[in-house]
Amino acid sequence: MAQIELEGITRTFSLGEARVLALSAIDVTIEKGEYIAIMGPSGSGKSTLLHLLGMLDRPDAGYYRLEGRNVTTLSADELAAVRCQRIGFVFQSFHLVPRLTAGENIALPLVLAGTPPDVRARRVRKALDKVGLASRAGHRPDELSGGQRQRVAIARAIIMKPAMLLADEPTGNLDRHTGQEVTELLEALNAAGTTLIIVTHDPEMGLRARRRLMMRDGILNDDMGKGA
């Protein structure tokens, strides 16, 4: 059984009078532990696909099965629970809560899931170790560098041991060197078994992935490296 099965996923947006077909009958199957880059020009629908995979958005037609369970019919609260447990997000602009420390930002998913504080502290410490920021737990985001902020965001994304990591241009706001470090961190997590799906239009980054989904005008144009 594949970890992710998308079948005939279609999504349209209304922009005033016009209807824009953002995704048109997408069929994709993703196995556990894959490393995938979703690529394509602006407006090709790659972000929409990522949002659908992350269950932030719902398709107008088609099925989405996550670990064998049809999630297209779930209620908003059920989706939130699945998101919390199974999906880790990494954003281009980090999205850390500015008034919370690094440790508190990382603990947010655990807080939302209602995990007791002592368990939380233990897991946050472990996650901080994993991203190499053990000494920065008490710092607020504005006291951290861009690379450190993104590593905090990654620690937050993996704290729930999710099935997949969804990264939307994770290095877009970072310089080359720092971006490289962050990419390596994500790849290390992938090597440890977490499915990694990155949206990027950086061809170099795309080439690092074992499988590339090329999007164009809402259509899956090319699926390179499948099964590799």
Binding site: H51, G54, L56, D57, A76, D77, A80, A81, V82, R83, C84, Q85, F89, F91, S93, H95, V97, P98, R99, L100, L108, P109, V111, L112, A113, G114, P116, R156
Partner: protein
Amino acid sequence: MRATDILRFAARAALGYPLRTAMLVLAMAIGVAAVVALAAVGDGMRRYVVGQFASLGTNLVIMLPGRTETSGFQPGRFVTNTPRELTLDDAAALMRSPLVLRVAPLSVGSSEVAANGRLRDVTVLGTTGSFMVIRRLSLAQGRFLPEEGWQRAGAVAVIGATVHHELFDDGVAVGQTIRLGDRRLRVVGVMAPSGQGLDMNTDELVIVPVAMAQEIFNTRSLFRVLIETRGRDLIESAREDLARIMQARHDGELDVTLIAQDAVLSTFDNILVALTMSVAGIAAISLVVAGILVMNVMLVAVSQRTAEIGLLKALGAADRDIVRIFLTETALLSCSGALLGYGLGQAAAWFVRLYKPELPAWPPAWAVVAALGMALGSGLLFGVMPARRAAALDPILALARH
């Protein structure tokens, strides 16, 4: 989410925007303080007036000559004239009722008093020894009128504090002689200053035996009769008793009016409670205004923290978690505003008491409960809309708008 986590998260959010939080808390505090302080002043006035009435004496029934069909309290009653006189014998007859403890007949007129070579116009009150007990008055010097036969016109007088000051420069007055009209009276006592009591100022009085006053003014009729009953719950039955006695004495006709002190008191009490409530009610409008302010500021907070809300949703926060977080924040702001306002209101009431000690300005419990309840209520009520709006945000749009 755990309740403690929601509380901590909301508190951190509130403290994260100190100026906004301070303004909101202040707005709420002013509203609550206004209600508490104004209710305190209003209730203080009520207590003051009630206290003034109570100083006339308790368990009191006042008998006036003349009768009106309409019962209840009317200021005009105090100056009515009467076709049939109320005499000293009538007053003495009232003592026959077992429910009556004391009776003090009053005869009032004005005259000239002369002493120490000075002359002054004064109100002369003719009464008996019971008057001082019934009215709870006290003496500064000497003693009060002797409790002797009411018909005996003893040549003695008790003077009020102002009269004492004007005629004797606050010196020794007991034993001195004063001239009242064409009578020479010996001063036996001086009243302690007491101030205004309903319709006469005891400080300005010269008090003489009732028979003496009637001789001076050449009249048999009484101005009032004060009757003290044996207990508060006996006032009504005493009134009926007194009415029966007077009817029997006046050929079957009830031509006196009996006013129970309690009836007057409760009328004033009711009026002033209503007044206090309406003043507090007007102040409570500021609480509604504060509530609307809370709503505005929380709506601003929601749009300020759009990205944060989107993030929370992406991380798996259910809609109800978002609602709870924002409602808790509103509740925290309202709560601190209400508590601060309560403190300010109490402080204001304390200042009033400090500078106007005769006004017992304590905020009544109902006002405190209502103010705190309204502050929390309006805060929460007006917090619902922003919280709902936050929960309804589309996480994709919320995250994109960074």
